[in-house]
C-alpha cells in the first residue's frame, strides 16, 4: 500500500504509562474506577489537545453539518469518550474475561445458515463499536475466524487476548504480506471458513479502491470484499458491533449482500455492492453517531 493512500494510523493517543494506569485500575479496583478516570482523561484531551478535536471533526462535520463550535466540542467529547470506553472495555475483556461484559451476537442463525452454504463467508465490518469484542462473540459460530488487519509498530493498545497472555482467538492475515494477503483470503473462503474485512479503510493493495458517497461526499473504499465474493461465490454479511445503552456489546447483522460470480476485474462492477455497504454504515451512524471511529479525513482524496 502506498504511503500516499494510507492516511489513517492505528497508533493510540497517550503514552505507555498512561495505558498502564488503566490496566492497573482494572486489575486492582475493577472497571468502575477505570471508567471514572476515563471521563476526566477524555475531558482533558478534548479541551487541551486541539489535535484530538481536529481528528474528530472530519467525521463530525459530515455527521452533524452546521453545528456551532460549542456543540462540536460536546460532540467531540462524546465521540472521544465512545472510543475511550471501547478501549477500557477491551482491556476488561482481556484482563477479567468475557464473563465481565455482556456480549451478544444478534443474527447468529443467519450467519450459521450462510456458512452452511459451504462457500465460506465474508464479514464486512467497519471501525465502529469494539470490533475485538465482536470477534470474541464469533466463537459462537464454531468455525475458524480469519481477520485481515494491519498493526503498526509502536501501537500501544493491546489486543484483548494479549492482556491475558493468550493466543489470538482468530487468525490474522496481514495486508502487508504477499499480494496483500489476497491468496490467503481466497484460501480461507475456498476452505469454507470465515473471513472478516474492514470495509471502511483501505488496507489492501494499491489501486483496489472505489469511490462511493458516504455522508454526502465521496470516499475511497476497498472493493476487495466484493471481488472476493464474486470470485468465490461466498455470501457477504455486513456486521456492526456496538456498545449498548446498558454498557454491554452486541454484534448486529446489518445486511446480506450477494455478489454475482465472475464480475471481472473492473472496479465499477463492484460499485453497487460498495454502495450497499455504505448505506448500511450510514444507517448505523444515524443510530449510533458516537460509535464511528475513523479519526482521519477519509473524504480528503478522491477522484
Amino acid at each position: 500500500m502506498s504511503n500516499e493512500q494510507k492516511q489513517w494510523s492505528s497508533k493510540s493517543i497517550g503514552s505507555n504509562w498512561q495505558h498502564q494506569i488503566f490496566y492497573i485500575l482494572i486489575r486492582s479496583g475493577g472497571k468502575q474506577l477505570a471508567y471514572l478516570l476515563l471521563f476526566f482523561v477524555v475531558l482533558y484531551y478534548v479541551l487541551f489537545r486541539p489535535s484530538v478535536r481536529n481528528r474528530s471533526s472530519y467525521y463530525l462535520k459530515r455527521r452533524f453539518p452546521g453545528r456551532n463550535s460549542l456543540f462540536m466540542l460536546w460532540d467531540s467529547y462524546l465521540l472521544s469518550l465512545g472510543i475511550g470506553l471501547t478501549l477500557v472495555d477491551r482491556a476488561i475483556l482481556g484482563i477479567s474475561g468475557v464473563e465481565n461484559l455482556d456480549v451478544s451476537l444478534e443474527g447468529r442463525e443467519i450467519l450459521v445458515n450462510l456458512l452452511a452454504e459451504g462457500r465460506g463467508l465474508i464479514l464486512v465490518t467497519a471501525h465502529v463499536g469494539c470490533w475485538q469484542l465482536a470477534m470474541s462473540s464469533l466463537s459462537a459460530l464454531d468455525t475458524e475466524v480469519n481477520l485481515l488487519i494491519h498493526r503498526e509498530e509502536g501501537d500501544l493498545d493491546r489486543h484483548f487476548f494479549e492482556h491475558a497472555g493468550e493466543k489470538p482467538p482468530y487468525r490474522i492475515i496481514d495486508p502487508a504480506g504477499y499480494l496483500g494477503g489476497a491468496l490467503e483470503m481466497l484460501q480461507v473462503l475456498k476452505n469454507g471458513k470465515l473471513l472478516c474485512i474492514m470495509g471502511d479503510r483501505v488496507m489492501g493493495a494499491e489501486g483496489s479502491t472505489i469511490s462511493v458517497d458516504f455522508l454526502g461526499a465521496p470516499v475511497k473504499l476497498p472493493f476487495s470484499p466484493y471481488k472476493l465474493a464474486s470470485a468465490t461465490g461466498a455470501p457477504l454479511a455486513v456486521i456492526f458491533p456496538y456498545r449498548t445503552d446498558s454498557g454491554g456489546y452486541a454484534l448486529k447483522v446489518a445486511k446480506i449482500i450477494r455478489v454475482p460470480e465472475n464480475l471481472g476485474r473492473s472496479a465499477n462492477g463492484y460499485l453497487p455492492f460498495a454502495r450497499e455497504f455504505v448505506t448500511a454504515l450510514e444507517q448505523f451512524v444515524t443510530e449510533h453517531p458516537y460509535q464511528f471511529y475513523n479519526f482521519y479525513n477519509m473524504w480528503e482524496k478522491t477522484d
Binding site: Y178, L179, G180, G181, A182, L183, E184, M185, L186, Q187, K190, G204, A205, E206, G207, S208, F223, S224, K227, L228, A231, N262, G264, R265, S266
Partner: protein, 85 residues
Amino acid sequence: MNTIEKLKKILVTDLNLEELTPEEIDDNAPLFGEGLGLDSLDAVELVVLVQKYFGIEIKDMEEGRTAFQSVSALAAYIDARLAAA
C-alpha cells in the same frame, strides 16, 4: 497453442491488459509489481481464470505463490498439474 501462449492470451483478454499484446509479454517477467503490473486482486482473478480455462483449482496458496512468479512458472505449474491428473 502451448500453455504459455494460452496463458498470455488469457492475461491480455480476460485481465484487460489492453496496452499489451500476448507477444509482448516476457515469459519470465514477474506477474505482479514491476513486471506485468498486476495487483493483488488480480491474483484472485488469476486463480479464477486458471480454474476456468484449465480446470485447475489452486487450493494450496503456497503452490500459488511459486506459480505466480511469472508466466513461465505458472505454465509449468499448470502443465505439471495436468500431467498428474
